[in-house]
């Protein structure tokens, strides 16, 4: 299912990586934030919405990253270059991520910044939408989000352009050893 997901997601301009452990994924994220020049300045910040991944790592490692905020506010998210959150499911046949996004910070970090890093447990892969629909309950989740690739438009002359109101890059990190409830 992972391979199918990767092919589909890359087909809609998402970037897909896979890591065996949270530590390996964290190394990637730290390196990425450094390469992107994340800093404590407008349009250079990073915001990370609370999630099981965060609970499962040594947060000391993040302390040195200036401009990374774990307390998400609307203002900070609007000024962020990178947003990080954890997704609850991945739908293989369309390369789609799904999330109970009732908590507003989850939506802010995945919508307002230019780059969205989406963490997801490899075990959260499901084959398709009908399967996924049996696992979610709108009565328990006021806002459910499905994300398939970055924001896009073709409204001018039908020319596909990536990144309109949402992120222009979607980076998906599968983590094999990732448990917990988002």
């Amino acid at each position: 299912m992972y391979e199918q997901f990767k092919t589909r997601a890359e087909g809609v301009s998402a970037e897909v990586h896979r890591f065996p452990t949270q530590a390996a994924a964290l190394d990637f994220i730290i390196g990425f934030l450094r390469d992107e020049g994340v800093a404590n300045a407008p349009d250079r910040r990073a915001v990370w919405a609370g999630c099981p991944f965060l609970a499962g790592i040594d947060r000391q490692q993040l302390a040195g990253i200036d401009g990374l905020h774990l307390e998400v506010s609307r203002e900070r998210a609007a000024e962020a270059r990178v947003g990080i959150s954890q997704m609850d499911w991945a739908l293989a046949d369309t390369g789609t991520l799904a999330q109970d996004a009732t908590a507003i910070d989850k939506r802010l970090v995945s919508t307002l910044p230019f780059i969205h890093i989406a963490l997801v447990a490899t075990a959260a892969l499901v084959p398709d939408m009908p399967t996924w629909l049996t696992k979610v309950q709108p009565k328990d989740s006021g806002y459910i989000s499905l994300i398939t690739g970055p924001s896009r438009t073709a409204d001018i002359e039908r020319v596909l352009t990536i990144g309109v109101h949402g992120p222009s890059r979607l980076i998906i990190l599968f983590v094999d050893a990732l448990g917990g409830t988002n």
């Binding site: 009908p130 459910i144 989000s145 352009t161 990144g163 309109v164």
Partner: protein
């Protein structure tokens, strides 16, 4: 009004940007759509959508109650009304009660339908569209020309001009740059807006959820950032169960934009938290506006199944020429014609319904299984019922129905036109009829109609089986040689051909113009004539006539409630068969042998609309032609209408002509010196087009090509 309508067509046809953009899009769309549906059983999928939506349309009240109950249980306020004015008032009141100054909107056709923006703006509220296409047309002061791609009629240069004016700064027409400008301009608006207004693609009764499908991400912002969210939902969006969204979400992106899924799908159920910790105020308006009347109509209930993908616009040979604005201000294209007739009034569709050429391309791709051309025909019928048939048209029908008189008049006109006629064509017609030969020569009328030629044909004696030949107007009066060829082929297979003199017009011209009473009389007269003598088959070499005989006589009687005429109509339908299907069967049964394996050269084949989409006979003529030794080269868009459409080419020649030009180009590009087809109407259109074009491509009915290759 008619003058204005014709002017709007004229304007659209001369807008090179529009026809260029739409033409390119429609060509790419067909390929991409097919790719998006790879590996999916489309018939099964659309069957499920039709059943889910049809169930909802029969239980509107019940599902609305259930939706309201479930949404309110989760803190939403649900307002139900049938009146667009009440919707506008309600939204304004919510805005005023909360001191709303700025509203951001994500794309909603329902708000277009009720002209919400100008109403709110008149009350001093700033209303901003945030879907890029919608924002562009808002800046241009226009209305959407397409349900999914509202600004498809504008070029990047025009968009750059609009943005430059808005920013008061000269911008380049680089598209990524323009998109960035839109992001930068709209972002602060999202952040300061007091209210977000959205539509909904689906409303789920059992959970009280609304589902929003977008690509840009604007709907996520509209439903997340402002503290108040108002969703305007037409009740046709209701489905019963949460699981019902699966087939719709599978088909909608594939049919709308050839995507497997859009970038974002949001499922909103009740109140959600705002960023300051408060709960969002959520108002959901369930709007009827004639939808329940539509659902109560046994024929139009089907249109409630629409999921608003606009694929009927994307495959329409007319839409790609004239675009959306010709159709009016809100809903455009095939389904738009139907929605306008109901949400507005029947009268509003008086002119736009005439744009449909009845080719059936939209019916083939509709993911909700709606017979769009059939419903447009029904609109036509109801308009005629209300208004009557125009006097001139009436007198034409009376002539058409009198075969001798009809031939006499046509022949007289053809002779009177002699100074203009060269060879087999009338190249130019005098004065007001000039449009009819603009880009196409009409056939000269045969000196002797087929009904007289037939009497001179000597058929072999003692043939065991009999077929009744139904000629139709064109073979009878213009192309009797096709009839002669048909007799020759069937005789060779041991079938005697009879031609009952009582046969008359198949009624298609009357039916396609909404004159069902005339069509019913035609049907009755033909049934009497064609069932008078025993025969195994009733065969026709005109697909439109074949469809009349084996489908439409029945539906015409049904529409008019003439059930006493149905048994005989069914008897005729069971016997009726088109020429190529019959011949293929005879060849397969070993009763007819064609010369095989010859080197007959390259050929291309044009699928006639009725033959392909109603009779589903695209394979038979191709296999026959190939087995005789023709080398088949398929043309691009082989099954796209040639623009003839019976009297369509007479009523809207300015649209018919460019459709024909495209067909001629596609034929010529195959390099084949010969094009075959199974419809004398298409032969008339395409042969006439080739003649005026000066091209050397031969245009032949399959019947003539087969008659020339019968084995001894």
């Amino acid at each position: 009004m008619q003058h204005e309508f014709k002017q709007s067509i004229d304007k659209a046809l001369h807008n090179a940007n529009l026809t260029g953009a739409l033409g390119k899009f429609s060509e790419a769309y067909k390929v991409n759509r097919a790719k998006a549906y790879e590996g999916i059983d489309f018939e099964e999928l659309r069957g499920r959508i039709a059943s889910v939506k049809s169930y909802a349309a029969s239980h509107l009240e019940q599902l609305s109650d259930l939706f309201q109950q479930n949404a309110e249980a989760r803190g939403a306020k649900v307002f139900r009304t049938s009146d667009p004015a009440k919707v506008r008032e309600y939204i304004l009141k919510v805005a005023q009660d909360n001191g709303v100054k700025t509203i951001v909107k994500s794309k909603s056709m329902a708000t277009e339908e009720i002209h919400l923006n100008p109403y709110l703006e008149a009350a001093g509220i700033e209303v901003g569209e945030t879907d890029l296409g919608e924002w562009i047309i808002q800046l241009a002061g226009q209305t959407p020309s397409h349900m999914v791609m509202p600004a498809i009629h504008l070029t990047k240069e025009e968009v750059s001009d609009l943005f430059s004016k808005e920013l008061d700064e000269r911008l380049s027409s680089d598209i990524p740059r323009l998109v960035k400008v839109a992001r930068d301009q709209l972002r602060p608006r999202f952040l300061r807006a007091d209210m977000g207004i959205s539509g909904a693609n689906i409303a789920v009764a059992e959970t009280g959820s609304i589902v929003l499908v977008t690509n840009e991400g604007n709907a996520r912002l509209v439903t997340s950032l402002p503290k108040i969210h108002v969703a305007l939902v037409g009740i046709e969006k209701l489905v019963e169960k949460f699981a019902d969204i699966a087939p719709i979400l599978k088909a909608l992106p594939r049919s709308a934009t050839a995507q497997l899924l859009t970038s974002y799908v949001s499922i909103v159920t009740g109140q959600t938290p705002n960023s300051d910790g408060s709960k969002k105020e959520l108002h959901i308006i369930l709007m009827d506006n004639h939808r329940s009347e539509m659902a109560a109509d046994p024929m139009f209930k089907e249109a409630m199944q629409c999921i608003r993908c606009a694929s009927c616009l994307n495959v329409c040979p007319i839409f790609r020429l004239v675009g959306g604005h010709v159709f009016g201000k809100v809903y455009t294209g095939g389904i738009g014609t139907i929605l306008t007739a109901w949400y507005d009034e029947l009268q509003s569709s008086e002119y736009i319904q005439g744009l449909c050429i009845q080719c059936g391309a939209c019916k083939d791709v509709c993911p909700a299984k709606i017979d769009i051309p059939g419903l447009i025909l029904e609109i036509r019928r109801r308009l005629v019922k209300d208004q009557g048939v125009p006097l001139l048209q009436k007198s034409i029908y009376s002539v058409v129905n009198n075969r001798r008189l009809f031939h006499g008049i046509l022949r007289a006109a053809s002779i009177a036109g002699k100074p203009f006629a060269t060879g087999k064509f009338i190249r130019h017609l005098p004065l007001f009829l000039a449009d009819l030969t603009d880009g196409r020569s009409l056939p000269a009328i045969a000196a002797k109609p087929f009904r007289d030629v037939f009497k001179t044909i000597e058929q072999p004696k003692g043939l065991k089986e009999t077929a009744i030949f139904y000629a139709g107007c064109l073979i009878d009066f213009a192309y009797p040689e096709m009839g002669v060829a048909l007799v020759k082929v069937l005789n060779k297979a041991g079938i005697a051909v009879k031609f009952p003199e009582g046969q008359t017009c198949c009624g298609a011209p009357a039916r396609y113009n909404g004159a069902y009473e005339v069509a019913a009389q035609n049907a009755a007269d033909n049934i009497t004539a064609l069932l008078d003598e025993p025969a195994t088959y009733v065969v026709s070499a005109c697909p439109t006539c074949t469809v009349a005989l084996n489908h439409e006589f029945i539906t015409t009687f049904e529409s008019l409630g003439q059930s006493e005429r149905l048994p005989r109509a069914r008897e005729l339908a069971a016997k009726t068969i088109d020429f190529s299907t019959l011949v293929k069967r005879l060849v397969d049964e070993g009763r007819l042998t064609l010369k095989e394996g010859q080197q007959l050269g390259k050929i291309t084949y044009h699928d006639s609309c009725h033959l392909k989409r109603t009779l589903h006979a695209e394979r038979q003529p191709r296999e026959l032609l190939q087995s005789m030794g023709y080398e088949l080269t398929e043309m691009f868009e082989c099954d796209t209408c040639c623009g003839m459409g019976g009297s369509y080419s007479l009523k809207l020649p300015e649209i018919s002509a460019p459709i024909l030009q495209r067909k001629l180009k596609n034929i010529k590009e195959t390099g084949a010196p010969l094009v075959a087809m199974d419809c004398p109407g298409c032969v008339m259109q395409i042969r006439g087009g080739m003649d005026q074009d000066g091209a050397t491509v031969r245009v032949q009915h399959t019947v003539e090509l087969i008659a020339a290759q019968l084995a001894e």
